[in-house]
Amino acid sequence: MENFDVIVLGAGAAGLTAGIYLSRSRMKTLILDTGVVGGQINLTHKVANYPGTGEISGRDLALNMKDQAREFGCKIISQADIIKMDLNSDIKTFEVDDEGIFSSKAVIIATGGKPRELGLESEKKFKGTGISWCATCDGDFFTGKDIAVIGGGNSALEEAVELTKYANHVTIIHEFDHFQAYPWAVEEARNNNKISFLMEQTVTGFTGDEKLSGVRSTHKITGEETVTPVEGTFIFIGYIPNTEAFHGASFLNDRGEIITDESMSTNVPGLFAAGDVRQKRYRQITTAVSDGTIAALSSINYIHSKH
């Protein structure tokens, strides 16, 4: 068994920031991530509002954070298959497939979130053959074609505008009669003559044989059914927290988010949470970084007071 002061679960903005602060404070720190370093930052084509960096790609920002954490001595394991964990004991333990058993005095959960899916059977069928969650990755497959964007937040509207660089036409399908996005994002989409809007819709399914051919939706008030003929659909309807591994835990709310106090402590001694996985209103890279900092400092205090 390899012993650490703190184990951080998740290598997104919150987890890497915690790793930087902990390692710099000479805490022996391990970051375990079930995916790749960077988390959701990797999905962001351009980050324009992170202070001090100017415009930077999400991937580059993530790699900078990783390098900074490593320079201070933080150990990072990505693609970690956590087979077993004990978060409730004084000394927390993790068994990771192919890597071994790791223990720590404190744990910070910073597992972030993942794109929300509609949960329709036909959505699974067309994953990779018409339905995508990443405009940066798959936008050019739809050059000259008609596509749909589902959602009404900032991501949906910004990506819809981005996708007009490739697509012939973009139909934004949204469940309400208004958008949740910032006014400037709405204005930009409304001013784009390649974008049209289908409001107050419930998406009920996707049509097509081998490839996607349309989005089926019904009007929420009139019940009128519409099939929007498209060859591609991008879904941006928010995120859900990555907390399946903690199902049933006392620190989760009914949406699966982790409840913490302002020091990022959960109701389990020595267990902290940071970033998008927490119950909170604003989810930005900057707020994740802030959470990661607070969680790191709180876990250091906890270790000093207990051990």
Binding site: T34, G35, V36, N42, L43, G58, R59, S78, Q79, D81, D98, K127, G128, T129, G130, I131, S132, C134, T136, C137, D138, F141, F142, E210, K211, L212, E231, G232
Partner: protein, 114 residues
Amino acid sequence: MLRTNLPHLESIDDFKTMLESGKKFAVVCGRMGPMCIPVYDAMENLQPKYEDIKLMDMNFDGPTAAKTIRALPETRNFNGLPFTVYFNEGKVVAATSSIQTKAQIKEILNSKMQ
């Protein structure tokens, strides 16, 4: 060339050699994007466990991909990066489009490549 630690399949001749050898191999055909990087990473991670299967990558935008992976009937309807194609005894035994988890890749390696 992709910035990964996987061996790169760069020419049509190399691809044909692999295919004609009858060896087990998988090719992740993509770019350096957020849906592709996790798949390369998973393959790099899994390679030591599957010594009899060669896990490789290929640049999606290169001429080799256009005439090999992207020209396969199995990838004809794919619209999500990366395209991952698994070969055994010269034949395609599985193909996936878009991001896959390490567990999903393991499942294919265990069920279709043994």
